[in-house]
Amino acid sequence: MIALIDYGAGNLHSVHNALIQAGAGDVAVTADPETVRRADRIVLPGVGAFRACRDALVAIDGMVEAMDEAVFRRGMPFLGVCVGMQLLADAGEEFGRHDGLGWIPGTVERIVPADSTAKVPHMGWNDVKVARNHPLLAQGEAYFLHSYHFTAADPADVAATTDHGGPLVAAVARGPIMGVQFHPEKSQRYGLSFLSRFLEWRP
């Protein structure tokens, strides 16, 4: 069973639809920590502001602990999408500094393009450049939509990058944890293939 964590994220249903399309049989859209504890895989969606998402996730009693247990004790594959990926960082700096989950060392900061003609939000299709070999990642083009970006403390955690007035992190990975800045649920064939690989992934 795949637990898709429901904490009010706007892209919850789109991610759900895409997981089903990618071949997921049993997806539980859930706000129940017990369900997350029992899951074989966990997906954390997220759009909007870092703080609002963090607060909503933390507000679910026992959820972060259940995620922690599933991932760190049982090694269950975990996928964070967009703000769901950004929450993996130590902290986010959108509307003040706020703690993240701290699963992948780094911070989430506003995009400041070196090229002043590059627009923010970074909105649209862009490259996913594989930074290090990872079974989930393929070279290609995916849809991005964000104004803040993940700055990893350890370059070894960066699995893919993209370029928008300078390099930006497109994916972070460590053990059973994968976080993608792009939206696989909105990236047509590229995104659905990515999700299919996640469903098969045995980290």
Partner: protein, 264 residues
Amino acid sequence: MTVRTRVIPCLDVANGRVVKGVNFVDLADAGDPVEQARLYDAAGADELCFLDITASHEARGTILDVVRRVAEVCFMPVTVGGGVRTPQDARALLLAGADKVAVNSAAVDRPAVIADIADRFGSQCVVASVDARRVGDGRWEIFTHGGRRATGIDALTHAVRLAELGAGELLVTSMDGDGTRAGYDLALTRAIADAVTVPVVASGGVGTLQHLVDGVVEGHASAVLAASIFHFGQHSIGEAHAALAAAGIAVRTPLLTPPGEGAL
């Protein structure tokens, strides 16, 4: 490479039915927004835009059902505009599966509605519409009611303000150009695109592929929206991408379309 220039087909929907859309004989139901969305998805459109032009307030809910059904079969970003007046309206559309909501006349009446929505759901999902008409040399004014009613508001000032309030994107429509097929108002598009740091979508008046190119090269738009050139089969999404690429503009790599899905 940097982020690609987006090609966005726009479908007008009334009472849950497409009123201006692709008119191909092989479509089982040309009025079904889901069928249309599927075609554009398969054709490699970069995003899709639905404009709800439902007149009666009672029938407003029909667009939610459309969005829900489209989101089940299309895995591309969808913007929905028309009748979005409050954060509650935006929330309903986002939960149904829309990725962005376009706010039109509500932001003319009360610009702060942009901040209300952006604060709750993030700037990335708020598109502010700027519907303008030329009223003098290098001057444009915001018009409402399909371009019939003047507001006295300077379009450039309004656009900058909406971006400052938290709009993540501006949809700039020339009401002079809309429906004329004479091309975008390039001076209007450029004036706004150069004045804001958020992406600008050029809209209104596309009749040829060159107009799309002009929207980017001369209008400085990040995305180009068009309706009739796609809907009536004059050009495909692939041709639009190819024309932009030929002009040196970064677009997505062409899709390798399986046989039978290449109608657009």
